[in-house]
Symmetry: C2
Subunit: 208 residues, 2 copies
DNA sequence: CACTAGATAGAGCGTTCGTTCTAGAGGGGT
DNA sequence: ACCCCTCTAGAACGAACGCTCTATCTAGTG
């Protein structure tokens, strides 16, 4: 329809749903991310994505000639950036790292509950089950975790923790939140996440 | 072919693959569990299951008239029992709960590595992405986690921990192992699990 | 021998899958 | 005026999906 990807979609009826005013490519990425977060990689069809993004199949393959796998890696990177932003904000808002991690756990719990326990970790949901036959998806997931870990590690380093302690704690912070979020999701109860937050705060404090 | 499900399959050629000598129903459950552990619920087809189990489609629907969802819940229960058994053994083998949890982490890491990073948590892999449209699968997963938690909690209670501390620690032990296993899987590195084991031991010790 | 219930066997149903393909619309450059 | 490139549009393909269906075979019972 148009060439520049911004502020278009007004001439036709494609700008009615969520993501209105965004470029076609961005709408596709967001739809992929949201759908795969809830249904997983195999559970999400490309036609469903194009429908949800209010784009046509032609557009999907125009922007993502690599097909479903490219869509998935891009969706993982999208989820990566989104959570990294939330994590960065939470870590910056509290000087104390233990309090900051507790705050992150509470934020995750609130978001999960608000979605009626549907929106778990987008990276996990999208990449699970693809490890055997899609190395680039697995790699994108690994990089997302590494980025999140880096944010936590830097916070701990800035608070005077030793290099190895900081990195190892960052590992466990991310992994525990990950596991607790999934448990909270299947149990439909935010308690596991709140317990995880308290335990992680206690663990961090034990290293001072 | 025969009525009693034990020691059959010898007259024909069905007893050649893994699970030889088992009843048809049991072979189907094991094949489902193994495949869904690696490929997830949506990524696993019923025809693939019947092929892998060396059973026919008719047999699959004969034993599991509830179809794919019933197969999945049964596979989750199978994985539940298997891990519960390993967990129980590890917890019984060490008097100290912190050491026991560390041993569990090492066992999980060894198994994951031995499978070339393919066999993650069967419960997670099977249930992820089905939460929205398959309540019984979600419930079976929730029950599995609850059972595992119960084993850890009982160990802590037996070691003199308070009731609430024991339950909360059990939550975090299972959740952290869960998250660390997935991270180890995508990173193809057992280090996250070993770090998790050490941190969990430290956390448990901090409650004495 | 006949009868029955349990289990096996697989063709075939309609649907959806991921992907490919051709056709055309829109706007800028010359 | 024309071309050209980007992007949109959706029909069509073969394969695979979950599931239903009928038919057959076996073992046990009378």
């Amino acid at each position: 329809m148009k060439t520049t990807p911004e502020q278009s979609e007004q001439r036709d009826g494609t700008a009615t749903g969520p993501g209105a005013g965004l470029g076609t490519r961005e709408r596709i990425v967001r739809a992929t991310a949201r759908l795969m977060q809830r249904q997983g990689y195999e559970g999400t069809g490309i036609k469903q994505i194009s429908r949800e993004a209010e784009a046509t199949l032609g557009s999907v393959y125009h922007f993502f000639p690599g097909g479903k796998q490219e869509l998935a890696t891009e969706a993982i990177r999208h989820g990566d950036r989104e959570f990294a932003e939330m994590l960065r904000r939470a870590l910056e808002s509290r000087p104390d790292p233990a309090e900051a991690v507790l705050a992150v756990a509470k934020d995750v719990a609130a978001e999960l509950r608000a979605s009626d326990w549907l929106d778990g970790c987008p990276v996990t949901a999208t990449s699970l089950g693809t490890a055997a036959h899609a190395p680039d998806i697995r790699l994108a997931a690994s990089e997302a975790f590494e980025r999140w870990r880096g944010l936590v590690r830097d916070k701990l380093l800035a608070c005077g923790f030793g290099a190895q302690d900081a990195l190892e704690l960052a590992h466990t912070v991310i992994n525990t939140l990950e596991g607790a979020e999934f448990t909270a999701q299947v149990a439909r109860d935010e308690e596991p996440l709140l317990i995880a937050g308290r335990h992680l705060a206690r663990l961090i404090d034990s290293y001072r």
